[in-house]
Amino acid sequence: MTTETFGAGLKDRDVPAMLRGDTTFTSDLRLPGMLHMEFVRSEHGHARIDGIDTAEAREMPGVVTVVTGEDLAGKLMPMPCIWIPGGVESHFPPHPYGVPGAGPVLAEGVVRFIGEPVAAVVAETAEQARAAARKVAVAYTPLAAVTTPRQALAEGAPQLHDAVPGNLNALWTCGDAERTDAAIAEAEVVVELDLYNQRTINNPMEPRAAVGDYDPVKDEYTLYATTQSPHNHRFLLSALVLGIPFNKLRVIAPPIGGSFGTKGYLYPDMPLVLFLARTLGRPVRWADTREGLMRSTVQGRDHLQHVTLAGTRDGRITALRCTSYANLGAYPSTIGPGVATALMGRSVTGPYAIPNAFCEVHAVFTNTVPLGAQRGSGRAEATTITERVLDLYAKEIGADPAEVRLRNMVPPDRFPYENGLGWTYDSGDYAAALRRALELADYSKLEVLRREARERGKLLGVGIGSFVAICGVGPSTRMQAEGMLGGTWESANIRVHPNGEVAATIGSTSTGQSHTTTFAQIVASELGIDPSAVTIFQADTQKAPYGQGTYGSRSYSVGGPALALAARQVIAKMRTAAAHFLGVPEDQVEYADGTFSVPGREGASKTFQDMAMALWYGWSLPPGMEPTLDVTTFFDPPDFNYPYGSHLAVVEIDETTGELEIVRYVAVHDVGPIGNPLVVNGQFEGSIAHGLGQALMERARYDETGALLTADLTTYAMPRAHDIPRFVMDTTETPSPHNPLGVKGAGEIATVPVTAAVANAVCDALREAGVRHLDMPYTPEKIWRAIREAKG
């Protein structure tokens, strides 16, 4: 049973502490006797290490130890990658964890990217560790570097890993190449486009941090770290990197200051602080700097794509073929290879029914920071290329881009819909969301605005981004076929205390999505009690049931249902007991507003609290019933869920300066039922801003040696308050049939169509100036140059 608690815009209960500065993030932890660690990072994109002289550093004040890759040899294993593109056959031995090219904790003989840790210095204070790290002298012989997939795949290119000939991690494909090529060959209209979806740096405001603690009496390790996946990281660290018993490692994720994908990865500092805490007998803390983050935390996007779209003269899309070169960086990050292939490749048909489709992704190692997830990853890259080429197609046949979209969208009566590339869309009315966006944008009047803008000397452009985004990763067996090593279910535990208070513990971990509030709403709704009686616990492997972590918009849509199912079991047990105490058959007992009652029998009732107490006492329970209410459930969904929507951007460009203004931004989403609109709107707004960052200003740049030219916030722009317009937002609501709440992922989906909408708007505006296509980011200088070049 549900009450109005689900769907209410309750305030986030953790926010008051944040506002007072009382939230303890990982870097705020202070353990007694704690030491501080600092990395010495590579200064080269690719170089041989000829020697590391630590003598001077060791003499610096406060220094306790300095370690290099040599000191760790045979003690710490390489960092595992757990997403193998193309799938794995079996989880029975031999296990497929030994991924070719896996990165060491500290560099061994060669550095392969600009921020790779080469040595670690531990000192009494952070300042002393920093000062000493500067004194570690590393002798390098620079090697030729490759920074783009095309370079890395070229004949005779420098090789990163002996075990990976040709630098190719995977050539991954989906769809039907033959049929698609045939459809393209006989099509009335064929449009092609090359697009570079630039590399970005996710930049959560909190840089990563880790504190390792070791108890010599119990021989137990505790890791406090900025991790989205405490359970998963515990498994990988104990079994695969440190080689210690599972039971000896506890991982705790303190409150996390934003992540957007980056903190779901395993990083060298995690095993290292644990290893050092044990060797030194004192807790060891490491807190990254912004520059360190930008040089070593996984980066996003970076696909060089070519797409071919074929269709009829009257606007029916008949085929789509996409080839993408994904820049994986120097090492396979924890799940990077899967993000770069499946999440992108299977998504390129977008919300459209395209009868013939094929996508291939070349996932390639280069001398850049390892690639990982960034909000909306894979799906945003797919949406951008598809939506761009669709606009070019519409222009080619002289049709309205909105009309072409509406004509090709999967209609509501075709669900479940197989997209031909491996996804089966669950439910929706894609056209309805687009129509709503058009209505909110006053689409039919935009031509008038265009003329008005022209009179003011401005170029106006309109761009649509329609999307569907696979979320809720996902059914475990389905993910086996994708090559994910590990289950992808979620879990929940509900314990009802004798006084009727409820402790609910989830396996996932919040990184700023208000889980303690929104999950309490699910529990309270299902139990028919006030949310204030429910406390949510998370993020501690010793307390929480197993869970796979927060990524792919799965916490709420996979973990939420686990909670609901646990709550339903609690009520079912209470109902059986209540019927027993009331002396009636179970089917005569009704439950509403916290009370079990028997209709027609005045006074025959028991409250939720009565039953909590009765089950705690355990007196005179129905025969065979166990005392107490303590339920753990695991939810492995039958399939993914697929939120969708449409964005529409209107931009004005100053032809003389190249300056761009977003004059209207409309966003319509369908994420199924919304548990807390205040929180979900916040996710939408933040996601759109994140997408605008990529569209307008963000780009990680490397020079040909692999040096990162944008390693701080003065050279890498992020959107500030005055860069972000107001958004006009609305939602439609189509439940997903794939979980008992009907919910769909909401945390990152609003990023997915932003770059598409803005790119289309900018290119629409620049069409008049003679520009067919321009890649992001749309800085004034870039736009100005494009206009000048087009004019010749």
């Binding site: 007072r20 500065g21 303890t24 405001m205 990184t511 801003a689 701080d712």
Partner: protein
Amino acid sequence: MRITLTVNGDRVEQDVPPNVLLVDLLRDTCELTGAKVGCDTGQCGTCVVRLGDRSVKSCQMLAVQADGAEVTTVEGLSGDGELTPLQEALWEEHGAQCGFCVPGMVMSLTDLLERDSAPDEQAIRAGIAGNLCRCTGYGAVVRAVQKAVKDKS
């Protein structure tokens, strides 16, 4: 070097090396971890505190430069778990998600409202031009300030 300053009303007397940043003094010596270190270049604003009657990025100042000053950090804004009306409004409008930018944001906005009791939207956005937030997209923060202003008048 020996310095004396007032932090959130408490007198602090401390020997500090000349190269220690104010933010590190606050976080490590005073154990006030509200101010955060989000960057190395003065760009993010997570470290904003009040020094006398102006707000400063405490990562851009040496501790010794604060000798004799009165410093207020986010922990010192209101007493005993209370929230200021601005903080209340930020809570209501969901102006904080992960919370990492929040202490700096609160300090910058408090400063803004002291200088301008009824800022318009542009002034609000300008008032937090030095504070990066990756979570909210700023909309909820702007609405919160507007709410705080409206509630006051």
